[in-house]
């Protein structure tokens, strides 16, 4: 069984167009209180660009030193973005633990 999974650029354009619509649907109407976590969370997701680095790194023989070094740099940069983003979002959301939600103050 072939484990690799890639798509053609044309498939990619389809994915792109559909996920664009999906993206706006998923994200609209988010309360302001969550804007910062949402932003740091989505920032973390953009760290997924590191997958490109992984592909390059794993397909480069060890002899090609510079190529390997560049791919490694990309992996490190992406990994910091990805992991750090998720960690800090988690830390932030942990502060939002809804305490005593029952005593919502009466609106004036």
């Amino acid at each position: 069984m072939d484990l690799s999974y890639t798509i053609t650029p044309i498939d990619g354009i389809f994915v792109l167009a559909l996920s664009l619509l999906l993206g706006f649907e998923v994200i609209k109407n988010i309360p302001a209180v969550l804007h910062t976590p949402l932003m740091s969370g989505s920032n973390a997701i953009s760290g997924i660009i590191l997958f490109g680095g992984i592909t390059q790194l794993l397909n480069t023989p060890l002899e090609h030193g510079w190529t390997l070094a560049a791919a490694s740099l990309a992996v490190i940069l992406g990994a910091i973005n990805l992991a750090g983003g998720f960690f800090v979002t988690h830390r932030m959301l942990s502060m939002f633990v809804v305490k005593k939600k029952t005593n919502k103050p009466s609106k004036p």
């Binding site: 988010i30 976590p37 390059q56 502060m95 939002f96 939600k101």
Partner: protein, 457 residues
Amino acid sequence: MVYAYLIATIGLVQGLKFMGDPARAKMGNMLAAASVLLALVALVIATGWSHIANVFLLLALLAVGTFIGNIWSNRVAMTEMPQLVSIFNALGGACAVVLGLNAVYGVGTPVDTKLLGSVLILANLFGGVAFTGSLVAFLKLDGRKLPRPAPVQKILARTSLALLLIATVYYLVMPVDIGFYPTLLLAISIVALLYGVFLTLPIGGADMPVLISLLNALTGVATMMAGLLFHDPIMIIGGILVGATGVLLTLQMCVAMNRSLGGVLAGKFAGSGSAKPEGEQDIRSITAVETASMLAFSKQVAVVPGYGMAVAQAQRECFALQEMLKQNDVDLHFIIHPVAGRMPGHMNVLLAEANIPYASVLEMSEVNNTMEHYDTVLVIGANDVVNPAAENDPDSIIYGMPIIRAYKAKQVIVMKRSMAKGYSGAVNTLFDRQNCKVLFGDAKSSLEEIINELKRI
């Protein structure tokens, strides 16, 4: 691998969806992280076994990256959250540029179609602008001294933008030799890096939320483009989701300030000092002691916090004030303007860190029509967002911007360090109102004084 990718993609979208719901946001974040991890494992398993040493190298690199990310995210203070997001964003952008150049110069990815070629160009273009732009944004947020934008900066920004457009269009419509492509890509990357600096330099202060959202969107688009290059669907979807988030937040922030994106990018009223000098305003000042008794005799009190509150590190005093007033049966709400702070939603995070219950933090739109029910409104370190000129003075530079109608409350107390104008430079006509008094001094120490006074009452 196909199924792992499918599950991971669904998890990612669902995770982001959950992140828009306060009760499930934390779970959403974990779900998104788990999905990315799953996809990563699948990717490594599917591609990894031809060069076994590389797998170990990869694991080591991932471990180091995760470690650094963890340390940074644990160390940062919540006031510095915009800086951290900027620096992470810069790393993502840099990653895109390195990948793109390495694809052509190192790996030798065949760029044999116009589609692939333009995808790669755009990945490096957006990545480059996001990288240096976020770096400059980081330095600005961190309060480093940067060269003031000279008039020449505007010309440089426009020239580099024009160069980028011309080069991209040139590649699209003209037959370009395969051998020349790497040079073209390198040139575009370099100009994009420069443009990021020129673009960001004039933007500052209250426009920061717009800028940060926009740069975030750029990295998302770069990721998406890289996804097309690497034929990787999860990169495309992830990138698009980030891009959509960034664009939506950018537009929301612009609407909240009644400014066009173009106007923000041109740094229009940043330090332009176009406000007409007007006659002396008749200002009534008030002492902390008087403020305390005024608060004690109120039933409904609202605090309108601005970035000045964060600068003074007065969040915990706000919490103490709320607790103190609660003992006197006074209800204290916090009313937050959409662009308060230095990134979208920043103020909510700062208040949450100070343990202020989520339920007492209200959005502007929730209460703006019922502001007259508040006995006292305390404005801490905010200025433009409570300026009534935005509603009733068509000549004012901020006319049309949605504001918190603090002036409708029975009493307004503005805590200020000096009579300096807000970010826009507009004269705040709130001070002319009969029901407005100014409490001069540092927000933190003023609040401490008020709390001590309340203890004695």
